[in-house]
């Protein structure tokens, strides 16, 4: 009985989470332009989507901005984490707290503050302002992920590498970087995700030439929405679902691979 209520409750919450998405997907096959009348099945909106210049170019913009911003944020943030880790306690605390402000602050405040900066600096709103803002809100996520890896790392690994004849540069790239790599990768992936998903900060910093997908969707929802947007969201949903499934499968495979290896290690150390 208890189990049944648990299952029922879980089912209700998941239904709540997924009903809107199901509605979008169903409507993407609806021949009628109306959102609420079903007149027949069609693939028309998918075909039109791929000839819709506005949507395609904004999709391109989104990907370009996400790629540039997340690469820059990863390099900048990783270097920052290494530097911050080696700082004195006080300056470290101050810098970390300031770095987390873009995460803690409401997005709208970050967006508005960057807009004021660009207006005051007389910058034209466009790719540059958009990419600068995206780097700014992505860097904290990289630092947030790399810094714990620095802390977990053995402090003497670097010295050991140098004692064994590595130059500081070699020691850095062959010892430090591999050690903190998982943090770097997570930070990079989070940056890409947040950059692609961002609306509020882009809204305050984009220019007419650099519309991202979120901005295009927003301007569409303000007018009569064309069902192509539904088709687009169905595609996005399938892509994300596939990505998550692949990630899960890869992870579980790695886990099953790891178990025998660990056993082997145990045997070796047992000897």
């Amino acid at each position: 009985m208890k189990k049944l209520t648990h299952k029922l409750y879980t089912a209700v919450v998941f239904a709540f989470l997924y009903i809107p998405i199901v509605v979008l997907i169903i409507n993407s096959f609806n021949a009628s332009k109306s959102r609420t009348v079903w007149t027949g099945f069609t693939f028309d909106w998918y075909r039109r989507l791929f000839t819709n210049g506005t949507i395609l170019s904004s999709l391109g913009n989104t990907l370009i901005v996400a790629a540039i911003a997340s690469v820059c944020a990863t390099v900048l943030g990783t270097a920052a984490a290494i530097g911050i880790y080696n700082m004195h306690k006080f300056s470290r605390a101050v810098i970390i707290n300031i770095s987390y402000l873009p995460i803690l602050n409401p997005e709208i405040v970050t967006g508005v503050s960057l807009m004021l900066l660009f207006v005051s600096a007389n910058l034209n709103f466009g790719y540059l302002t958009l990419i600068l803002s995206h780097i700014t809100f992505c860097v904290p996520y990289v630092i947030l992920n790399v810094l714990p890896k620095m802390r977990q790392m053995n402090r003497y690994l670097y010295e050991a590498a140098m004692d064994l004849g590595a130059s500081p540069v070699q020691a850095f790239f062959k010892v430090i970087i591999p050690e903190i790599m998982p943090g770097i990768i997570t930070g990079f992936l989070m940056s890409i995700t947040y950059s692609i998903d961002d609306f509020v900060i882009s809204y305050f910093t984009y220019g007419p030439t650099s519309q991202t997908l979120s901005i295009t969707i927003y301007s569409m929802t303000r007018r009569k929405v064309s069902p192509e947007v539904n088709a687009l969201s169905a595609i996005i949903f399938v892509v994300v679902l596939a990505a998550l499934l692949v990630m899960n499968i890869v992870e579980s495979r790695r886990d099953t691979e790891r178990i025998p290896r660990r056993k082997k290690n145990a045997e070796v150390s047992g000897k």
């Binding site: 879980t10 919450v13 998941f14 709540f16 989470l17 009903i19 809107p20 998405i21 509605v23 979008l24 959102r35 609420t36 900048l76 943030g77 270097a79 920052a80 290494i82 530097g83 880790y85 080696n86 700082m87 810098i95 300031i98 770095s99 402000l101 803690l104 602050n105 409401p106 997005e107 709208i108 405040v109 508005v112 503050s113 807009m115 004021l116 900066l117 207006v119 600068l132 803002s133 780097i135 700014t136 402090r155 995700t193 998903d197 609306f199 509020v200 305050f204 997908l213 979120s214 969707i217 927003y218 929802t221 929405v225 947007v229 687009l232 969201s233 996005i236 994300v240 679902l241 899960n248």
Partner: protein, 311 residues
Amino acid sequence: MNRKSRIAAAPYLVWMIIFIVVPLVLIGVFAFTTTVKTDADGNFLSGEDIAAMQEELDIQNEENGTELVVETYDKVIFTLDNLFRVSDYMPVLVKSLWLAAVATAICLVIAYPLAYMISRIGEGRQKIMIMLIMLPMWMNFLLRTYAWMTLLERNGWINKFFALLGMGPFDMINTQGAVVLGMVYNYLPFMILPLYSVMVKIDSRTVEAASDLGANSLQVFSHVVLPLSMPGIASGITMVFVPAISTFIISRMLGGGTNMLIGDLIDLQFLGNAYNPNLGAAISLVLMVFILLCMSITNQLDNEDMEGVLL
């Protein structure tokens, strides 16, 4: 690694100052200043003054066939007016606070049992459940909110369903309820995930020990599960409350024109018809200070509870 590696942070420090510190300082500067018109000698000119001077010039212009315009200079002066004007919008601030608080409370009530149930099932199924909760978050939130418009409309799907039962139609869209629903829907995962991540660490043996020692299920909850999940509650509340109180999309899409929130107000001052960045900055400043204060309070609570748990 040595102290010299501190240099690695140098580029970021420059970045941080330009793109985090300076913009926030600018919000402060804009909030406490306003731009006024002056003449060449630095005397203030009101709009009426300028209009009167222009009228005189127009007479000259007509006589001489010239096109002279009153020369004015912009001057930035310190003022507290913007901050005082924020209080004119008190109803909007109170409404945002109220709706965000209601949405946060509903999220907590829905998410708490769910997070607990998920944390008690097998590991493999936990992973799938968490993936399913994160999946909607990866969809563009504008699209998800837009889908609710389709559902809630007067001739939308929910009203069609009620019509089959011979009820309705109900006015659901463009109400405060719709705004709260949008907030709950969009931010529910932000409540479930932190709750789950602390609950999964609660050892089921602790729970069993409590009931073995004679605690009934209510006591197990209030003396064991609740205190141990306090950090998750605190971070869940901040993760839902902050975006909920500052949203301007959900209120615009689901609340119609009548349910304006702080976010809409700020947007209106910067990109809307009521262009006034000084007032916008003042509202942003109030919002930011309020949220950082709230956060430091929940942090405090969180830490104290953690100590209580450890003791």
